[in-house]
Amino acid sequence: MTDVQSTMAPQSTQRRKPIKWRLIGDHAILIAGSLLMLLPVLMVLTTSSYDNVTIHKEGIQFLFGDQLVENYQQALFEKGGFTKTVDGARMLMNSLILGFGFAVGKIVISMMAAYAIVYFRFRFGTVAFWVIFTTLLLPLEVRILPSYEVVQSLGMLNSFSGLIIPLIASATGTFYFRQFFRSVPEELLEAARIDGAGPLKFFVDILVPLSQTMIAAMFIIMFVFGWNQYLWPTLMTTDESMFTLVRGIKQIMQVWIGANIPDYGLAMALAIIAMTPPVAIVIFFQSWFVKGLTESDK
């Protein structure tokens, strides 16, 4: 509608004023909204550059202090926790493994399954379809205790496979790729078959290259999802050297309780470190990410 307004505006100078006021109102609302999103994080960022005593005495700070490097160094490299075996860098590494492992595993497995479901005629095809898509109905949170017991009985506690694989047990990725494969023109398969391409060749040489944008979008969404997992890693990992950053947040809270002056600077620095990689990915690959998110619900 803005296009029409801007072409209508020059016709009369009298009409320009109310439109302008509305535009100012629109911008005011958007600026207020942006500040609402931005300010809490900015406050935590600036306050994370002070020492604990200053924060404790003077509260949240709005300008940068002189402890920035010290606090982040402490958060990244000083061994913390109860057993003094884990530092921020280790947790960062674990988070990266979880995010990458989950995203790659989920994409590979769901692309294979979606390919089988869309492109092959075989017995039990419909059964497989329903077995897979029923998992869309129940999130991990409602079957958390038995999932824990299954992983425990398989001896997978405190391992990356135990952390990643149960999270993959849902059909979201398969669903997205199924939708996408169905939108690929049929003529491609016909042409490939006339040229004598088998199913493997068609998949590797035609379908995967065609899906590049979709794969990129899925990767961003799944990486952020894996990185931000909290409940599952909290249950699964008791060994501190397996903690992820998001899991480490809880540990910091528990060290806090009973402390005279809590480690505010350290906690805030860790919060900033924990949000930086996923936020950076979402901002840099914004257009892919939005496309993947909004086109997948159809």
Binding site: M37, A113, V150, A169, Y230, L235, M275, L293
Partner: protein, 293 residues
Amino acid sequence: MKRVQFSRPLFPYLLLVPQLSIILIFFYWPAAEAIRSSFYLEDPFGFSSTFVGFDNYHDAVTGSEYGNIAHFTLVFTGLVAFFSLSLALLLAAKADAVIRGAKSYRIFLMWVYAVAPPVAGLMGILLFDQSLGPLTQLAEFFGWDLRLGVNYWDTATAMIVISVWKQVPINFIFFLAGLQSIPRSVREAAIIDDPSSVSRFFSITFPLLAPTAFFLLIINITYALFDTFGVIDIVLKGEPGNNPITLVYKVFLDGFRGNDLGGSSAQSVILMVLVLILTVFQFRFMERRVHYS
């Protein structure tokens, strides 16, 4: 599916093996286990269990706290969904209307999507902190003595504010995409018919957005029920005391702290049924949407 398909005897099964085996082991087995153990009473050491029928369900639902927690979950879910949807809709409508700075606004309004709920929770308890939190000071300015972790509804307020903040971006992204998919011809015709922007929004734009809004409503309900776990756990510092908790948090407490396997499973199954109803509702609606559009 496709008109032209491959028919190979073995290949599709090989493709499906990884997905199916993961789902069977880590989805169907635990789900079946949850249903089974909801009918059994296990002794605290896990040596024996006796079949008790629907006793666990009966005990769970009639427990003194369950009603209160279910009530709070309902209020919490309603408020989080309402505020995050309406705030996001307002911002998306404005972001769709402006031209200058549109790209920057879009980034500023959506990046919080990538912040993990517990990280948002940690920032929240700092901002609502009794002595150093600016939001506590703001509340005090209006004569509200906000005590996080002490007063039931004050804690609830903090939980709701943090959860809404975390959820606005995703709603914003979907609403903006929905608004931008409305054809220009429709918009222009609407401007000619109805010059008032507010009434035009409610009579034309909003009905066109209804499918997006409904889809988002379900997403928001599931978010408030399940994904807010991280926010709640951090705000409570793992010690609920007499603070508000949601149904999912109670499943976690009873199962992992209280070691009440049967009770926790029964509550899980109740939640499963709830989610199932929601999802069926959503699928039916989406099917209809496909038919009429």
